[in-house]
């Protein structure tokens, strides 16, 4: 049916990588190729090519602006032309799927991840930096969080209960210390993020290797004792009083912050 073909052609002009060239070369041929009947093609206005180009620009600019807003440092390092090209490829190859506009940057990063990792023309740290920048919105808007506490004290044979927004992100770069102009340094980094239950702000804690190793296991719902033992085994450090005291201090801090709620 001609109206469905018109919609398909219109969408293609926004989505396909080679659409701008094809539309510019012969817009009537472009519509015809998408199945729009000749009599409908003949009725299209003179300015059809220019107007399709405007729509494409509007759609892509909106997506690009959203990504640049959530990833300002990453966008600055990519530069405008490169970001524009990345958005064009994203729209053509994957595109946003969710009806929620704010999630678009996460969808973009899911697409970019494997591509940026292999792209030698991009800085090695770029994906880590982008993921760190996005984590603020990801955690800040997480539908989870604010769950009722179990009310049970920590117990060695039990897993623990975290606030639903708590997550641990590991990076090969000190992304949390990058600035608009300074690149992050190469340094294994573990960051614990959560959303404050009172002020709803996202908080970021830099973890020691020990705290990170324990937290990884606790987030995987391992019982407390097993998490402590396996973390020490992994790091080759003794499970001694010094370690236990450090972990007790870490748990007390998390509990005070409302990130750790007790035994699960």
């Amino acid at each position: 049916m001609s109206e469905e073909a018109l919609i398909r052609a219109f969408a293609a002009s926004v989505i396909e990588l080679d659409a701008p060239a094809a539309v510019k070369a012969d817009v009537r041929e472009f519509f015809a190729r998408h199945g729009v009947p000749p009599e409908v093609v003949a009725g299209l206005p003179e300015a059809a090519a220019e107007r399709l180009a405007i729509y494409r620009t509007m759609v892509h600019s909106r997506l690009r602006a959203a990504v640049a807003e959530f990833l300002p440092k990453t966008a600055a390092r990519l530069g405008r032309p490169r970001l524009r090209q990345q958005i064009e490829r994203f729209v053509a190859e994957a595109a946003p799927k969710a009806p929620y506009f704010w999630r678009l940057t996460g969808e973009f990063l899911n697409w970019a991840g494997p591509r940026w990792t292999e792209d030698a023309t991009l800085p090695d740290y770029l994906l880590d930096l982008a993921r760190h920048e996005w984590s603020d919105a990801e955690v800040g808007n997480d539908p989870a969080g604010g769950e009722a506490a179990s009310g049970k004290p920590l117990a060695l044979d039990q897993p623990v209960q975290f606030d639903g927004t708590v997550r641990l992100h590991r990076y090969a770069w000190a992304v949390h210390r990058a600035t608009e102009t300074e690149a992050p340094e190469a340094e294994a980094t573990a960051l614990l993020l959560y959303r404050d239950r009172k002020d709803h702000q996202v908080k970021v804690l830099e973890l020691t290797p020990r705290a990170a190793a324990v937290t990884t296991r606790l987030l995987a719902r391992e019982p407390l004792q097993a998490a402590l033992m396996e973390a020490c085994a992994e790091l080759g450090t003794p499970l001694d009083d010094e370690f236990l005291a450090a972990m007790a201090g870490y748990f007390a801090d998390l509990a005070e912050r409302g990130a750790l709620l007790g035994a699960a």
């Binding site: 969408a11 595109a95 808007n141």
Partner: protein, 299 residues
């Protein structure tokens, strides 16, 4: 039940000039900065569904003090993809739990294609076949959301019909086939009339005003490049006097209804927006007075 009865049965309908509740000033409004200054807020539930954090908490507090109208962007009412069942379910859950909004509205456009969400309002062909398909989807959405639907006329830059007034005929056909209400955006009518060279009042005269349930009014900007002959509906500038005149024309004929002053880009400080609201309200109140006088004269 007719769409009017459906609306009346749900929640009190606010009237007057309201504003869009934007995240840039949500915290201020939550703290009471607009109390007594705005008859209602309009929100886009697409920005709240399946989202945690401060937004839903603040919205819940604002909704205790103000009527809220619900206006979406993502249903792709004219799209060829099947309706997004998961999204509709989430939307209904949010509306049922959070808002006694009398209806939900979205645009006469498509926004998604082939599973790709383009996050924009893309135009539809103005044919009967198209109107039938869209109307069936509007009915289905209304059913699945369990509330009346309004559809909004959009700004378009590439007409997909042979005459400009085909759009009005298309809008009317959708309204009647779907038995739904119209969220009439007078700014979009003005933008389209200017860009495509037709008379805005001639367009409005084709619309059955008893279907008009809510109005949108906004400012717009010139496209910032060589194509200066086109104005773009950015909702990023104060309202122009020509658009005020269209608002007045409608309100003189319909009487009181909710009018939403849209501002989506270059959002000014809340105080400035409230002042712009007051200015539009004076246009609205004057039109309302003329409506009342005409009613009195007729009685």
């Amino acid at each position: 039940m007719s769409f009017r009865a459906g609306i009346a049965a749900r929640a009190a309908v606010p009237t007057g000039v309201g504003l869009g509740l934007r995240s840039t000033f949500l915290a201020e409004v939550d703290r009471g900065a607009a109390d007594g200054r705005v008859p209602f807020w309009e929100i886009s539930p697409d920005n709240y569904v399946a989202r945690g954090g401060s937004r839903p908490v603040r919205l819940a507090r604002v909704a205790e003090r103000f009527p809220i109208l619900s206006h979406g962007l993502s249903l792709s009412l004219g799209g060829l993809d099947p309706l997004d069942g998961e999204f509709l379910q989430g939307l209904r859950g949010f509306l049922d739990a959070s808002l006694p909004a009398p209806w939900h509205s979205d645009h006469l456009c498509f926004s998604a294609h082939d599973g790709k969400m383009l996050h924009d309002l893309l135009p539809l062909p103005w044919t009967t076949a198209s109107a039938k398909r869209v109307a069936a989807r509007v009915r289905e959405v209304s059913e699945r959301l369990g509330r009346p639907m309004l559809v909004e006329n959009i700004s378009y830059y590439l007409p997909l019909g042979s005459t400009p007034l085909d759009e009005a005929a298309f809008v009317v056909e959708v309204l009647e086939r779907a038995d739904c209400g119209l969220l009439l955006d007078v700014n979009n009518v003005f933008v389209n009339a200017t860009n495509h060279g037709f008379d805005a009042l001639e367009w409005l005269a084709k619309i059955p005003l008893d279907r008009v349930v809510q109005l949108h009014i906004a400012g717009h900007e010139f496209w910032d490049d060589e194509r200066q002959d086109l104005i773009i509906d950015t909702h990023g500038a104060p309202v122009r006097s020509e658009v005020d005149a269209l608002l007045a024309w409608v309100v003189e004929r319909t009487g009181a209804l909710p009018v939403l002053l849209e501002r989506d880009e270059n959002i000014p400080p809340l105080a400035e927006l409230l002042a712009e609201r007051d200015r539009v309200d004076s246009v609205y109140q004057a039109a309302l007075a003329r409506h009342a006088a005409a009613q009195g004269g007729a009685a």
